[in-house]
Symmetry: C2
Subunit: 327 residues, 2 copies
């Protein structure tokens, strides 16, 4: 984390990074790198373990790093939180301390996959593992705002991730969500392209926004990672001495490299919160920090809130449509 | 399909393939290949479309190809069914015409991924998209029998696919299934290794059997396929002229090639039923036929039934354990 933060400020001197955690650990790590004083340190003494129940741990530990970091954003001291710890704890701290914006009852994690045939916003990448059709519809609208604000795609194509391209394919949640998403996107600057499949995420091209629950999104992303790792191991075993081969392989995989993906943004919370991979390299941590910076500079939170408010207003006036996305 | 069937009989002259479908289509395709009479043809005049509700279509269409094929197995004329049509229709026809074996209320699709660190039986790969904890427990036991019969792994490690390795990670279905699977595997020749993640399927090594619902399994497999296609496209664009590079990639990706995977077996039905990819090449169709042949020669159905009966008997005698897997 510290190497990543140093990389980020070296690449963008206008960026200011606060380290949140035990000061003695931070100071000694900075000193051992001859960078004492390069980063400000905010003390936080508690940590939340991967094995703890995140919501309970966040409530119980007022001085946990993610809660302290979220308070810095709430109080205006910081513009964004970056965490490579427990996703559940980051989600719980964000919702608990910052709250959600009107129109969102939960905060999905959005990642941008820079796929060869065009970038894909995948959400939820792992925040809400149990989703109903209404939540998936909220996620679809949040994804539309994100594609507009971050990728500049003002009329994104939205797909529902399921097991076949034909309408009617899917489990009960997907079948129920299909009509809800179609109705919610009617009149919004977006196109519902219907069902998309697992291969449409790494390949891109079919949809700019792919909507799914956090369970499926997480399994999908890890399957993509595992496949790349599998191919990488085989290439390394086969031709470790061939530089051209290694370079070509690096280029081929680059779009799906975690550092290129650069972390996930929690959409719909009232502050910028970026969650990175638990096993992030310094390069990947720096990418997460850069993603947070871009999100702040793009006015992600006010833009998301304003666009969602517009959708809610539109839905509120549609005959017989309850404005069910109000908080 | 016809090219795949011809490939299969050319490679294994002891194999006998019956083509089920419109005879005039089959005859003309065989004649145009100068192979008239090489394959026997069984007439079936109805087909089930990808857009139809499979269960309803199978009940309504007595002369649909999958129903005719399933009857050939039920009546002893054929030993196995191979279909590269609608998975749902193959499942419905199999359950409707052949029935399930005691202990199984549904038939999961099992695929063997020949991963670098060891083969992985993934089930369900797409048959039952809505699963509860009891079904996942049935699938775990079916996966144990399959690993024993087909891979010769008599004490397989079984993992539950979810969003994190730590116990307690997952959605409500996974949290409920965890204890059910642990209890069901207690006393059986298998080891429950707990939670596994998306990358453990393409990489292998953590579990010999990975249990999931058909929705997640289908999305995962297609994500793996899409990732390979993405890498393949990038390599082709980057170094189409480099034969060594192309060959190295072919070798690296071979374990996850659909032809290497060779289709999926419907476990727990009273007959061998293999389902292949809708966009199968002749090579992949031949692999499906070879998988069906191996399954018949391995006595998959009687072995599965006998092993499940053993599990049920064990559970029936365990104090306080209802034999809830009896049909």
């Amino acid at each position: 984390v510290i190497d990543g933060a140093l990389l980020a400020i070296d690449e963008d001197p206008e960026m200011h990074v606060l380290l949140v955690g035990p000061p003695e650990v931070a100071e000694s790590a900075l000193t051992s790198r001859n960078r004492a004083g390069a980063l400000d340190v905010v003390a936080a003494t508690q940590l939340i373990d991967m094995t703890e129940d995140p919501a309970r741990a966040v409530r119980a530990k007022r001085d946990a790093t993610v809660r302290v970091a979220a308070r810095l954003v709430r109080d205006g001291t910081a513009d964004a939180v970056v965490s490579v710890g427990s996703t559940g704890a980051a989600l719980a701290a964000a919702v608990f301390t910052l709250g959600t914006v009107p129109g969102m009852s939960r905060a999905p994690l959005a990642v941008v996959i820079p796929a060869a045939r065009g970038p894909v916003v995948l959400l939820d990448a792992g925040a809400s593992v149990d989703c109903d059709a209404d939540l998936l519809t909220q996620f679809a609208l949040a994804g539309v705002t994100y594609a507009g604000v971050v990728l500049g795609i003002e009329h994104p194509r939205v797909g529902l991730l399921t097991v076949g391209a034909e309408p009617g394919k899917g489990d009960m949640v997907r079948k129920a969500a299909y009509d809800g998403i179609a109705a919610a996107l009617d009149g919004v600057a977006a196109e519902f392209v219907g069902n998309v499949e697992g291969h449409d995420v790494p390949l891109g091209g079919r949809a700019d926004v792919v909507v799914t629950d956090g369970f499926t999104g997480n399994v999908l992303l890890k399957a993509v990672e595992g496949t790349l790792a599998m191919v990488g191991e085989a290439v390394a075993a086969d031709a470790a001495d061939d530089e051209r081969l290694s370079a070509a392989f690096q280029r081929a995989m680059a779009p799906l490299d975690p550092a290129a993906i650069g972390g996930a943004v929690l959409l719909g919370v009232a502050g910028v919160v970026v969650v990175g991979h638990g096993s992030s390299s310094p390069r990947a941590v720096a990418s997460c920090i850069q993603l947070a910076t871009r999100s702040v500079r793009d006015d992600l939170v006010p833009q998301t809130a304003a666009r969602l408010a517009g959708f809610i207003a539109q839905r509120g006036t549609a005959a017989g449509q309850p404005a069910r996305f109000e908080r």
